[in-house]
């Protein structure tokens, strides 16, 4: 076998391992009823509540459209950032990550499969949000599905990088869910994911201005409310990308496969 043949066969093997691990992650996710319930249904519940309390218009569209766009953004951060960070901490502290590392499963394939699995869950959730919005509040389906999918993939990549970075600095499994939600819920509120921030005090809006989720909400608003391409928001993409890169750098320096309890 020559070098090229080895590369081809190892690539095929990596694809097989990715599919295998993706199936594994889906099985693990849906088998754990509590986690599946909270992660999958929580944004839907929020949409029901927020859709009922907001009235008026935002950027010339019915405000419930903006609420839906905000919850898609929140759902993306919830699965790619919070879900991933909590999963990684739990698996690191229980020794699963360390155990997997001694198998032939390559770490990049593992992380890619975990991320793809959270994206599948999020995609189903987004479909459910659109159906729910259509049925209850008359919200339209996205004008360009392709642009929305691209936006969500970009956002998920950035939030996943921040999720692995956050997992790297959380020390114990017990506190992981609290710490992650302590970051995510205020961020979602300040970024306008739970409804427009126009009426917020100046200080709160200023804090929101540096958060990645705010810029992600802007891109989703442009794509969903106004039917624009995601590339029409270069400034927001740049801020989101910078946060993603910062997350990757922190991950590269701080990420550990072994439980923190071990030296």
């Amino acid at each position: 076998m020559n070098a090229a043949a080895i590369t081809v066969s190892s690539r095929r093997r990596a694809r097989g391992l990715f599919a295998h691990q993706l199936r594994t992650e889906q099985l693990v996710f849906w088998r754990s009823r509590e986690a599946a319930f909270f992660i999958f249904l929580f944004p839907l519940l929020l949409f029901l509540l927020l859709g009922a309390v907001y009235h008026g218009h935002f950027q010339g569209k019915p405000i419930v459209w903006a609420v839906l766009a905000g919850l898609i953004s929140y759902g993306c951060a919830n699965t790619a950032f919070a879900g991933l960070a909590i999963q990684l901490v739990l698996r690191r502290e229980s020794g699963v990550l360390k155990r997997l590392r001694s198998t032939p499963l390559p770490p990049p394939v593992y992380v890619a499969a975990l991320l793809a699995s959270t994206l599948i869950v999020f995609a189903l959730q987004t479909v459910a949000l659109f159906l729910l919005g259509r049925a209850l509040y008359g919200t339209p389906f996205p004008p360009s599905v392709g642009s929305l999918v691209a936006t969500v993939v970009i956002g998920a990549a950035a939030f996943a990088a921040l999720g692995t970075a956050t997992a790297s600095v959380i020390r114990s499994a017990e506190g992981s869910s609290a710490v992650v939600n302590f970051i995510l819920l205020p961020m979602a509120f300040l970024s306008g994911a739970f409804g427009p921030t126009k009426g917020y005090p100046y200080v709160l809006r200023a804090i929101g201005d540096v958060l990645p989720l705010k810029y992600f909400v802007e891109i989703v608003d442009a794509v969903y409310l106004h039917g624009q391409g995601f590339w029409t928001q270069p400034g927001a993409l740049a801020v989101l990308g910078a946060w993603g890169v910062a997350g990757l750098v922190l991950t590269a320096f701080k990420f550990k496969w072994e439980p923190r309890g071990e030296s």
Binding site: H20, L27, S102
Partner: protein
């Protein structure tokens, strides 16, 4: 063929020298026991061999490969049982075996491995319903499902009840009969003595003694001969038990006496181990 070759291995964490110049080799098909108290450097040594940690100095070959820069098939050929590992609680025993089997190019039959580790009756049970001993058997099962040539067992029976330990020992013996090489770390001396072809005793980052359990117990401490004289116990310690015993019994027979309570006892590995780990290490 050698499965593992280690020479001059060193590893420090900051100022703490965890491993200070370790040398040993393990033959293919051998069961090798690494014994020592907590903090002796056993786990650090094993984790370097498994590819988890980088070494500071020394040469290491595991299955012909440097675990710091492993060959492509290195992880296909090793199986690992970690001290702590708590797999997905909501999956079943069989599902987890099938998941791990999927990571390997040429795995063993899943149901066969589940049976081998004695979990057939629990094959459909979720992991969270297993007892501690059953979870360790699951750990062993997923270490074997890839059909490895070399198996690392880090304290495989910690927390087992005596019956579960016997069962685990039988499984480890069956690994030897399958021709696997096994590197076992343990606190339990009887475990090392029962299972290992050779034992290395580690203390403060160094190997203080290495050999078969029989070699360790015959050379290190003197054999004890006890009997009762006028109701008092007499204890003789000797390196020449045959001669001493012959003299003792010849005299007694000549006097027409019975040596009451006569016993001859070789020191157990435990006593050798305690003596070794208590004595000062030569610098």
């Amino acid at each position: 063929m050698l499965a593992i070759e280690v020479s001059g291995l060193r590893k420090a964490y900051g100022d703490l020298e965890a491993v200070r110049g370790v040398d040993f080799t393990i033959e293919e098909g051998e069961v090798f026991g690494l014994l020592g108290p907590n903090g002796a450097g056993k786990t650090t040594t094993v984790e370097i061999l498994e590819g988890y940690r980088r070494r500071d100095a020394g040469e290491v070959r595991v299955l012909g490969s440097d675990p710091g820069k492993p060959a492509q098939d290195f992880r296909e050929r090793i199986g690992v049982v970690l001290q702590q590992s708590d797999l997905w609680p909501n999956l079943t025993v069989r599902e987890i075996h099938a998941i791990f089997a999927g990571y390997y190019g040429a795995p063993r039959d899943v149901d066969e491995v589940v049976a081998l580790v004695g979990l057939e009756e629990k094959a459909g049970a979720r992991v969270k319903t297993l007892s501690g001993g059953q979870k360790r058997r699951l750990d062993l099962g997923i270490a074997l499902v890839g059909d490895p040539d070399l198996v690392f067992l880090d304290e495989p029976t910690t927390g087992f009840d005596p019956q579960a330990r016997r069962a685990a020992w039988e499984m480890i013996r069956s690994l030897r009969s399958l021709g696997k090489t096994v590197l076992l770390t343990t606190h339990y001396l009887d475990e090392a003595e029962q299972l290992s072809d050779r034992v290395a005793v580690m203390r403060e980052g160094q190997i203080v003694r290495i050999g078969t359990p029989a070699e360790l117990t015959t050379t290190e401490l003197q054999t004890e001969i006890r009997y009762l004289r006028d109701g008092e116990e007499v204890l003789l310690q000797t390196n020449e038990p045959t001669r001493v015993l012959a003299e003792l019994t010849t005299e007694a027979v000549a006097r027409g006496e019975e040596l009451e309570g006569l016993s001859v006892r070789r020191p157990s590995l435990e006593e050798v181990y305690l003596a070794l780990t208590a004595e000062e290490v030569d610098e």
